[in-house]
């Protein structure tokens, strides 16, 4: 249970700060003297936080579903032909900078949440896909043989042997993907998605360091909270499937 303490503390401080930042005017008037607009007020921090989390969560869910199914398909006998191409796409695709992908989504889909979500899904599924392939291909063939020898059907082998064994690697891929997507979603503010990047961008445009700080602190906390959450999940997973 102790592994869950750190994420709980991070999440609590994230929520607390999102609530208390608007009351910290003295601090921000010290950072940004000579202006009355000290607290970002176009949206409440909670709304931004919620929308940011929603974007990342939706992209992670869709990305995981697509990537894991593609990974499973490419490692079955029916899809083996596609394996070299799929793994090359996963590795070459990760060379493309996420910002560039975000920017390229705009000419195709316009401004707003939709292109942001599209870019997040597309970029986010690459690390998951790569890790799914690594995880499924890395299983000792003898284990699969003995599972078949026990009379398991190929669906049973997949669900009861392969996916649990590859799970840790896949989970690590999801963690990488979510870390990248939290950062990319923040930049999504520049293409019209409502995220915690809004105060930062607004502050940069208007030369208001107080806004920048408020956004940056919350984005940083969100990233750290999520990362520690994954750390806890990975530890729990490792304990559950310890060999």
């Amino acid at each position: 249970m102790r592994v869950w303490l750190t994420p709980v503390v991070w999440i609590a401080s994230l929520c607390a700060l999102a609530a208390w930042l608007p009351t910290m005017t003295p601090l921000f008037s010290w950072v940004q003297p000579g202006t009355d607009n000290l607290i970002y007020n176009r949206d409440s921090f909670y709304v931004l936080l919620q929308s940011h989390i929603w974007l990342v969560l939706a992209s992670a869910t869709i990305g995981t579903l697509v990537a894991v199914s593609a990974g499973i398909f490419a490692t079955r006998p029916a899809g083996r032909d596609f394996l070299p191409l799929v793994s090359q796409i996963a590795s070459i695709g990760q060379t493309v900078p996420p910002v560039a992908l975000l920017a390229l989504a705009v000419p195709v889909m316009g401004f707003g949440e939709k292109p942001t979500l599209f870019a997040l899904v597309l970029y986010g599924l690459l690390p998951i896909l790569r890790n799914t392939l690594t995880g499924l291909n890395g299983i000792n063939p003898a284990v699969l043989e003995s599972a078949k020898g026990m009379g398991m059907s190929s669906a049973q082998v997949l669900l009861k042997v392969e996916l649990p064994l590859a799970g840790r690697v896949i989970l690590a891929g999801i963690r990488t993907s979510v870390t990248i997507n939290i950062a990319t979603a923040a930049i999504g503010s520049t293409i019209g998605a409502r995220t915690l990047g809004d105060p930062v961008i607004a502050g940069l445009v208007n030369g208001n360091t107080a806004y920048v700080l408020q956004g940056a602190i919350l984005i940083g906390l969100l990233a750290l909270a999520t990362d520690s959450l994954f750390e806890a999940i990975e530890r729990t997973w490792a304990r559950a499937f310890a060999v």
Binding site: I92, T95, V96, A100, T190, V200, T209, V212, L213, G220
Partner: protein, 391 residues
């Protein structure tokens, strides 16, 4: 019966190429090949393949894909060689489609009219590139062969882009309007990301050596650098503005150096912070994993510790260290684009300017070179890694 059928199926048809060719066929006929815009901001009218290039263009593209399908499904002699040659030529000359489009549809009476690239064109290029990738994989082409193919295609696009016929392409118009700024953005982008990589390489080497010498330092150091990697770029750039601004205000000599809350200074600092994790991790792992037996052999030959390090450990560790440099460089090139938000310059300037003005081709002018730089860095450093590894 069953294994035999599967085997013969494998020999006969390549389902990957078939699927990709059909996808390309669907995209190129269903999506807009190009767009005619009255000026740089207004959304233009889209034209499909047939409307854009007439029977000739549509016929050439369709028959190319048909030939690919035939080659994928029939046991033609040396079909992968034929496919590779065909696709290389097709990809090299692909921009000519846009030239034909401009010739057909560009209004001659307006100086501001321009043509834009449609989703159909991008999809066609993308799927053709994937088919080529698969074909090269089937041929087990050497890295040198693959690289020369890519260079041929890039040269083809370069030649097409410099032709008079494509001067009305909005991407090229945006470029010609800002050729000076483009060169400057390239210089800034490269110097920022490469200096961040160079500085962090030196720092990471020192840190990794310290970790090798003192095991105790490993956990806190790795913890610190991976902590920094977790902070999203926009947040780190934002967090550096206030302290650097305060420092610069307090110390005039820093201001004289150009160190301010915004600009290259916070960008470089953040880039170095991000570069440390892959560099430190790879350098440390590379140095630690040199087999003890090799080191012992060196000692047995009477080498000093210094000689062992310089002549045994370092050369063996080099491929893994270069892999760290590769990851770092790609990452730094992408992050430098974000750094344009805090006024650091580079190709990100075009991206965010274009987004601000809703000028999509300005966005492309920033995003495409960023992607290209990242891919080029990947190609160069992977080649270097393989060269070192095979020595």
């Amino acid at each position: 019966m069953l294994p035999n059928r599967v085997l013969s199926n494998r020999v006969l048809s390549n389902r990957v190429v078939l699927a990709l060719a059909l996808a390309a066929f669907g995209c190129v006929w269903l999506l807009n090949l190009g767009v005619v815009q009255p000026n740089r901001i207004v959304t233009g009218t889209g034209y499909g393949l047939y409307a854009a290039t007439g029977w000739l263009g549509a016929g050439i593209v369709s028959s190319l894909l048909l030939v690919v399908v035939v080659l994928a499904t029939r046991p033609v002699h040396k079909r992968y060689e034929v496919l590779a040659a065909l696709l290389t030529v097709a990809l090299m000359t692909l921009p000519l489609l846009l030239e034909v489009f401009a010739l057909h549809k560009l209004p001659t009476d307006s100086a501001y009219a321009r043509i834009g690239i449609g989703a159909g064109f991008w999809c066609l290029a993308f799927f053709l590139a994937l088919i080529l990738l698969e074909t090269l994989g089937q041929l087990r082409a050497s890295r040198r062969f693959q690289l020369s193919t890519v260079l041929l295609i890039v040269a083809g696009w370069w030649l097409c882009a410099s032709r008079e016929g494509l001067s009305s392409l909005s991407l090229i118009r945006e470029y010609t309007n800002r050729a000076d700024q483009f060169a400057q953005a390239l210089a800034v982008h490269l110097s920022l990301s490469l200096s961040a990589v160079a500085i962090s390489a030196v720092l990471a080497f020192a840190l990794a050596l310290a970790m090798v010498r003192r095991e105790r330092m490993r956990r806190p150091l790795l913890g610190l650098v991976s902590f920094m990697q977790t902070i999203p770029s926009l947040a780190l750039f934002g967090l550096l503005i206030a302290p650097l601004g305060a420092l610069s205000a307090a110390f005039p000599f820093l201001q004289a150096l150009g160190i301010r809350g915004i600009g290259w200074a916070p960008a470089l600092l953040a880039l170095i912070a991000y570069s440390l994790l892959p560099m430190v991790r790879n350098t440390y792992v590379a140095l630690i994993e040199v087999p003890e037996s090799v080191v012992d052999a060196g000692r047995g030959m009477g080498m000093s510790e210094r000689q062992i390090f310089m002549q045994v450990k370092l050369p063996l560790a080099l491929p893994v260290i270069i892999e760290g440099v590769r990851i770092t460089t790609i990452q730094a090139i992408g992050l430098t684009a974000v750094a344009a938000l805090i006024g650091a310059g580079g190709f990100g300037t075009f991206i965010f300017q274009g987004l601000g003005q809703a000028a999509m081709d300005l966005v492309l002018l920033g995003a495409l070179p960023t992607v290209f730089l990242a891919l080029a860095a990947d190609a160069i450093l992977s080649a270097l890694k393989f060269k070192e590894a095979s020595r």
